[in-house]
């Protein structure tokens, strides 16, 4: 299906105007939206992710590709909603209360969307109750939390405890990350997983939702 191969290539090249145009072209050709998503946009991002993992390209290249994917998604989103096409799962993300750093969290969100997840980004300085409430209301499968300060790390534990207290510990999984956070800390607070960088976070979330 050449239009979708070209679309994937546009994403890989980070050519966002072309990615938008080729998505419109694929829609005009009446290709199923889910097929455009899987075989065009996500296929391109998968190649980009693979090249990033083996250090053939660098994070800025991934982010240029993500912008191209978003250009395609802007065209496709209304059709995916119309057709009720499910995502890989809903993930609520945020930098925890007191923490205003959100570059790392943003990278995780961009890469999760690139992998096909529906991401609800609550931003920074997010209170534990807001994370849990949003996950409950949106039917999220995972809450991803970021902290860059040792002073805000304990808030991650509050989210995990709150989930358990509300009986959601088994249904909503938690993943934590950020410079001072470690695998040991994740275990200590009872989080389900730890992601050491944005690329790894995507793999971890896929594992948590059983997509690997």
């Amino acid at each position: 299906m050449p239009p979708l191969t070209d679309l994937a290539d546009a994403v890989i090249r980070g050519d966002h105007p072309q990615a938008g145009a080729l998505t419109r072209e694929a829609i005009r050709l009446a290709i199923e939206p889910k097929t455009i998503l899987d075989d065009g946009l996500i296929a391109g991002m998968t190649v980009v992710g693979d090249r990033f993992r083996v250090h053939e390209i660098f994070l800025p290249d991934v982010l240029l590709a993500a912008k191209a994917m978003y250009a395609g998604m802007d065209e496709l989103r209304p059709l995916l909603i119309r057709d009720g096409v499910p995502s890989l799962g809903k993930v609520v993300i945020g930098s925890v209360k007191g923490d205003l750093h959100d570059i790392g969290k943003n990278l995780v969100g961009i890469m999760l969307k690139g992998a096909g997840f529906d991401v609800i980004d609550l931003g920074h300085d997010v209170a534990p109750e807001a994370m849990v409430r949003t996950a409950k209301e949106q039917g999220a499968a995972v809450i991803g939390m970021s902290a860059l300060l040792t002073t805000t790390m304990p808030v991650m534990g509050e989210v995990v405890s709150r989930l358990k207290a509300e009986g959601m510990g088994g249904t909503v999984r938690t993943v934590v990350g950020g410079a001072p956070v470690s695998e040991a800390f994740a275990r200590e607070i009872g989080a389900d997983a730890y992601g050491f960088d944005a690329g790894n976070a995507v793999d971890v979330v896929k594992t948590l939702v059983g997509r690997r």
């Binding site: 660098f58 800025p60 240029l64 978003y70 205003l100 570059i103 943003n106 040792t150």
Partner: protein, 240 residues
């Protein structure tokens, strides 16, 4: 008495290799055209939005000990305590790149210019460190104008959150320094706003005062190890 100053952009131009390292790109890598264009674009945005300012206030040893004690959460033995007691002069300091730059980074992400936002953020981090280095040089210059003539005298900075100085130390540091004069505030988590800011203490003395064995408890937990690089700049060309 506080010394409030502005930093000339040419004094703190972010070093390219340091920016690339933050972007995960090894030094010496030949960048493709699109990343070069991105870098140039980010450099332009940085130049348009950066508004660096700083404040320095000299402090006596006992007064610094009270600031350093913070909320009582420092480790029992730390490099900061060791070096500060060896120092001849001390000054609290803070530098900030200003709010417009932080806003520009945020706007890049909300506008899906992720690569630009990420590159700009990395440049800003390196520039913030360069601004802190300007504060070091400024304090050293002030001391020399007053007759400080210690052989091999050197000023290095130490910040809450590093080298065993718990980040909660920011509270007393801010209370003593009052960096509101340069637009800096502290939130409940001891996080500075604007984000691209550096605060801490400048410690002056013979360069050997800054040497410490990396055997403190905090050293074992430290992932940064930037103290080694900073010391290397003091002893470049000399036997350690």
């Amino acid at each position: 008495m506080s010394d409030v100053f502005t930093v000339a952009p040419e004094e703190m131009s972010p070093e390219r290799d340091a920016v690339l390292a933050l972007l995960g790109i090894p030094a010496g890598t030949l960048l493709g055209d699109r990343i070069e264009r991105l870098y140039t674009h980010a450099t332009g945005v940085l130049g348009e939005t950066i508004a660096p300012r700083g404040v320095i206030a000299e402090i006596e040893g006992e007064a610094f000990d009270a600031v350093y004690a913070g909320d009582g959460k420092n480790a029992a033995e730390t490099p900061v305590a060791l070096v500060s007691h060896r120092a001849e002069f001390r000054a609290l300091f803070a530098v900030t790149l200003g709010e417009p730059l932080s806003r520009a980074v945020a706007e890049c992400f909300t506008g899906a210019d992720f690569a630009l936002g990420y590159t700009l953020d990395a440049m800003a981090s390196v520039a913030a460190d360069a601004a802190a280095a300007v504060a070091e040089r400024r304090f050293a210059g002030t001391l020399r104008e007053r007759g400080w003539a210690t052989a091999d005298g050197a000023v290095l900075r130490y910040s809450p959150g590093y080298c065993g100085w718990d980040i909660t130390g920011q509270r007393r540091l801010f209370a003593a320094l009052q960096p509101g004069a340069i637009g800096l505030t502290l939130n409940d988590s001891c996080l500075m706003q604007p984000l691209k800011s550096v605060s801490g203490v400048l410690l002056a003395g013979p360069r050997t005062i800054h040497r410490f064995p990396p055997t403190f408890d905090c050293c074992a937990r430290c992932a940064e190890r930037t103290c080694r690089d900073r010391l290397a700049t003091l002893f470049a060309g000399a036997a350690h």
